[in-house]
Assembly symmetry: C2
Homo-oligomer: 313 residues x 2
């Protein structure tokens, strides 16, 4: 694999958790030409990373949150990660009409690291209604050498007034067969306080994924809400989602990732088998159902084919 990138997901902002809104109101200019396949193929790895980190279609606190989260991962975990080795036309892609665009950045963990890989991404799509669909995501998968949960953050925004938030530390084990696991990572850590906080906001309504698999894979402390109505999505992300996402990420990095478990061979096999199902299902069912509709079959096949090498291995 390639050498470690020194600047993966490097933020052009130096954002604290509680930032003045003036710092995050800027929206970088965005040139569609950057997304053509030939253009992407000529870009260097650093160029592609910078373009990914622009999150060009979201602004304000949504953009600042993602930059902050990804920068934090880079700062604290970067030395454990390879550089992104996705082909340029998988790091940036669009459909034939240019109405849907996406960018992915994937960094595998070093052989000595407990991180399997970290994937950041964004998708922008102009909906027939005239509104914009913007999805930003960070997911981090660990190796079977540790049983600490995976990390998942998804923000799905439709227009300026509607947001779906999914934030979870995804369990690696069946919480019924392994009650000690439930206790260690979810009960003793009081992770549920974040869910209580976000679900208790007057602007938040519980969100039920239409996928029973998604509901089953998440932890009992998962935050799944749709946000809208009374206050703006901008305010809710800034005042509530951002601090909570950072706290959960910090907990995940500090408490989960650094705590090396004594995982025996049998347990490793179990984790590898369960993780394998989770990752394959994510590509086949989750992405596999939406990517062809958004980007057409050819682009979807190209992107998902490459991702399968990481998710399906």
């Amino acid at each position: 694999m390639a050498s470690i990138s020194a600047g993966f997901w490097r933020s052009t902002f130096n954002l604290s958790r509680h930032f003045p809104s003036s710092l995050i109101s800027s929206r970088p200019s965005f040139s569609r030409a950057r997304f053509s396949r030939s253009s992407a193929a000529m870009d260097s790895g650093d160029d592609l990373r910078s373009k990914f980190m622009e999150f060009p279609y979201v602004s304000g606190s949504h953009r600042a949150l993602m930059v902050d989260i990804l920068s934090t991962v880079e700062t604290r975990l970067g030395s454990s990660l390879e550089s992104c080795t996705l082909p340029p036309d998988v790091q940036q892609f669009e459909n034939s009409t240019g109405s849907a665009r996406g960018s992915l950045h994937l960094r595998s963990g070093l052989p000595s690291s407990q991180i399997d890989f970290v994937l950041g991404g964004w998708i922008h799509c102009e909906l027939p209604s005239g509104e914009a669909l913007n999805i930003t995501t960070l997911s981090a998968y660990l190796k079977p050498s540790t049983d600490a949960p995976h990390f998942l953050l998804d923000l799905i925004q439709i227009g300026p007034t509607s947001l779906v938030l999914i934030l979870d530390l995804t369990p690696r084990k069946d919480l019924i067969l392994y009650p000690d696991y439930l206790k260690k990572y979810y009960e003793d850590t009081n992770l549920d306080r974040h869910r209580v906080h976000i679900h208790g906001l007057p602007e938040a309504k519980p969100y039920h994924s239409p996928s029973l698999y998604v509901r089953a894979v998440l932890s009992p402390t998962a935050i799944l809400v749709s946000v809208g109505a009374e206050r703006s999505v901008e305010d809710v992300i800034r005042d509530h989602v951002w601090p909570v996402a950072r706290e959960v990420l910090d907990f995940w990095i500090g408490s989960c990732l650094c705590a090396v478990g004594n995982v025996g061979a049998k347990e490793r096999d179990y984790l590898a088998r369960r993780d394998g199902i989770i990752k394959r299902t994510t590509v086949e069912v989750d992405l596999g159902s939406s990517f062809p509709r958004l980007f057409g079959q050819e682009v979807a096949d190209r992107v998902l084919g490459v991702l399968s090498g990481y998710y399906g291995k």
Copy 2:
């Protein structure tokens, strides 16, 4: 074990699913003396069953629903069940002041049946606020000879205007490691339509159990709501909860219980191990935390000690 009771949970009403409310408005007179330990010890099995089936502290559609559900189980499954062998002072019990009372009726499956046991119960408690807490429940556990889900129905009513409803077919397997199980019992059956219906009622709000274990053990189609406010609990139970509970019970009896799976030895061991944890946790954590507070340690020890023989075996 004893012979099969011919009249377990026999209803004194012949209730259809859509009943005239005049049929269910009667509330039987209730004598406290029936609950004294010495009195209970002298009652015959039929007497105790009849008293259990009175559900003396709930009325209207709540009572009628429970009578209907339990009568349905008796009619369709009674020939597969032993008679209730709980000691009389576990079939009926109360605390020292008489402010909390309960009744349990447990029937084990015959050796030839796939039913492990069926437990019906009710608890009544006068709260310090002056309101009455009434819990009615039916849970049915299956043997490891089938992998069909368990059945769970809980109605927790505080006063006339507040209800918590839990209705679920509880999975026997980890839904991530066994995606075919998720498909067979939850996706292909469209069980989620009932959750969508109940959760969509304007009077219903999602209910999150404070227990992470309870959240984890339930299926992704579980109905967990608190009901109150706009319409009366009475109307919501009659028009929505009752029909849905009957449909889920009928599905469980018809589709799950009657479909004998080819469960191999290894799978049986897995099911037995997972079921064992579920049942032991129910007694130790769920009932074990609430019974001493409601009934005092002596009564709790007596009742839970007997239940442990069924749940912990």
